[in-house]
């Protein structure tokens, strides 16, 4: 075991995958010599050479388009989009190409690529460094969508994603890179150094895609969360004293329906939280699933806490971010219903 930040764990994940498999290549904007603006690929070019880790021209459609071509020719590209907010030029390649290569060619060609992108807010990045576009991917047949919430999962899930035979969108909550963040922005920051999930196995291991994890067992209400919101939900449970069961979905697609239904059937209540805007967010899918599968166990209406339906603001970041106060209020209201 080793102590790692989430950035180190992600780098280590790529390092392990590149070390085991020559077909894994890593590229993106500023990814080569510099090692990425968040330093996720630091040292990889030096270790594996320029033809396996390099700077891409600033063309997201080019980055993903070439990754698809490489995958068709036997490689396993793991590419970086500098911020999820900049994936839109690649949206055509991701949703209309990568997602459907297998289906439309009847597996004549496949597309084992990973597209990493920092996601979410909490860094005063304004509307173009804060977005959470996961629902724009979960709505597309053929993609897998992963959002880790800690170093351990990040490394295990990333290796699993790279080894997966299909395209995986790997969303990294940037506010968690250097430490857990529970939304109490006014409190001093603590790093991953003392957090149990900052302890990461060395070498190869995987966290299988499609499996949620219970981060806090509880009897009263189920909280479905992923990424940064896992930590916010834990803080809200702590702050309110409500015995919430907090589930970290880890993989949004394919989702872990068994874990979701088992918990909601036990607690009879459900609160769903995400940073992304509310309307047509992934929370809507989760709410529908809970309604379809747990209707007769529900003792209160399902509640969603999410980003407001506005573009992500700059100055009003903490009014926008669904912090522990808003999640706590939802827990309380759900318990009172």
């Amino acid at each position: 075991m080793a102590r790692m930040t989430m950035i180190q764990a992600i780098r280590d994940g790529m390092d392990v995958a590149m070390g085991r498999d020559n077909s894994v290549v890593v590229y993106g904007e500023d990814v080569g010599y510099f090692g990425g603006v968040f330093r996720a690929t630091q040292g990889l070019q030096e270790k594996y050479g320029k033809s396996r880790c390099f700077d891409a021209p600033i063309s997201e459609s080019g980055i993903v388009g070439t990754a698809i071509g490489m995958a068709a020719n036997g490689m396993r590209p793991c590419v970086e989009i500098q911020f999820a907010d900049y994936m839109y030029p690649a949206y055509d390649q991701i949703t209309q190409e990568a997602a459907r290569i297998r289906y439309r060619s009847n597996a004549d060609f496949t597309c084992p690529i990973v597209i990493r992108m920092p996601t979410g807010g909490g860094i005063f990045g304004g509307q173009t460094h804060s977005q959470s576009p996961e629902a724009l991917f979960t709505h597309v047949a053929g993609l897998k969508v992963v959002v880790p919430s800690n170093p351990y999962d990040a490394k295990g899930l990333l290796i699993a994603a790279i080894e997966d035979p299909d395209p995986v969108i790997f969303l990294e909550p940037k506010r968690l890179y250097n430490g857990p963040f529970d939304g109490h922005y006014e409190r001093p920051v603590t790093g991953w150094g003392k957090h149990p999930d900052g302890e990461v196995p060395e070498g190869h291991f995987t966290v299988p895609l499609g499996q949620a994890k219970i981060k806090r067992e509880g009897r009263d209400v189920t909280v479905l969360a992923y990424g940064t919101m896992v930590h916010v939900a834990l803080a809200a449970a702590e702050d309110t004293g409500i015995d919430a069961e907090v589930i970290d979905l880890r993989t949004l697609l394919p989702y872990d329906l068994d874990a979701i239904t088992a918990s909601v059937k036990k607690t009879g209540r459900c609160v769903i939280v995400h940073e992304a805007t509310l309307t047509s967010g992934f929370g809507a899918e989760l709410a529908a699933l809970v309604a379809e599968h747990c209707f007769y166990s529900l003792e209160a209406p399902i509640r969603r806490v999410a980003g407001w339906d506005t573009p992500y603001p700059h100055a009003q970041e903490w009014d926008y971010f669904p912090g522990p106060a808003r999640v706590g209020a939802a827990l309380t209201q759900t318990m009172e219903a």
Binding site: D85, G126, T128, D309, T310, A315
Partner: protein, 408 residues
Amino acid sequence: MPKPLSLHVPEPEVRPGGVPDFSGVHISPAGEVGRPPVDVDPREIRDMAFSIIRVLNREGEAVGPWAGSLSDDQLTEGLRHMMLLRALDARMIIAQRQGKTSFYIQHLGEEAVSTAFRKVLNKGDMNFATYRQAGLLIADDYPLETMINQIYANSEDPLKGRQLPTLYSVREQGFFTLSGNLATQFPQAVGWAMASAIKGETNIAAGWIGDGSTAESDFHAGLVFASTFKAPVVLNVVNNQWAISTFQGIARGGVGTFAARGLGYGMPSLRVDGNDYLAVHAVGLWAAERARRNLGPTLIEYVTYRAGAHSTSDDPSAYRPKEESAAWPLGDPVIRLKAHLIVKGVWSEDRHAQLEAEMLDTVVTAQKAAESHGTLHSDNRPSVRDMFEGVYAEMPPHLRRQRQETGV
């Protein structure tokens, strides 16, 4: 058996620890490149995509066919604009470190490009800029205090705290709302210009993009529309050699130039010394005149150097030698214009030092005024209401409900 293939990955000449070397950069002598008539057939000036139009020589004299577009007073004003922008940048970088704002983007070394270009435009023309052309506003006397209010996201921020610092929007002064998403503005500039033509008006547009961002599809989309419809637009590529940590060779590829990208689209494509205020102005004027005479678009590559960090989040010593900026062969735009004015006998070291102090004073005064309206983390900042407003012309019911949930 054929030899196995191998991947070519371009690398800059030097990295940290190395000695800066720009000997491979071909610099045309000042005055050497000719000045064709604005209605020239683009096919006759293809070589201009590979030379560099320069006016100021080493001695500080203005030479050649592109000299003479500006009076002494205009040149002194230009110096003032560049120095004001430089002073603003220096103060805002400190303000960012002090936590008065979250982020700042500076122009160090590139001040001539946007300040000189502004002077070729008329009222009603529109710029579709990037974050590194605040000189367009400075040279049009946009109030500094308002700029700083935006940077501080305070209660007087005209953009209500919604936008990242430096991403201004000033329609009145020909400055289209800035985006953080690279290259999107390039085809938009062309569309604005096409509208001017459709409506039979006389205004033109200017599109702006960085060297790195020319790799985006939107750059090429802008070029093809501009070319096909002969849009009245000036398309500006600011080649400051770097895109964060990535040297310009990654976007440029091969051995061409950014200007040469325009050749395939059949448009006049010029390269100009971006650190030469006089050259930038003269070339901008030429292109603007072409656009106004309905002769179509021009692509201009400004050869310059990003002497500072990419942004306040960046530390360039991690990827390029510290001495590289001092070794840049085209020098510093402020020092070069100053030298020219001294050679002309209309300027002196004393007056320069005086102006420098005055510019700092002007910025500090504006800064104090802005600070009286708050800074990023102070209490007097844009409201939660401001966050909900302006998403649509009229707030739809679902958003109104969300706003009410916050109690405002």
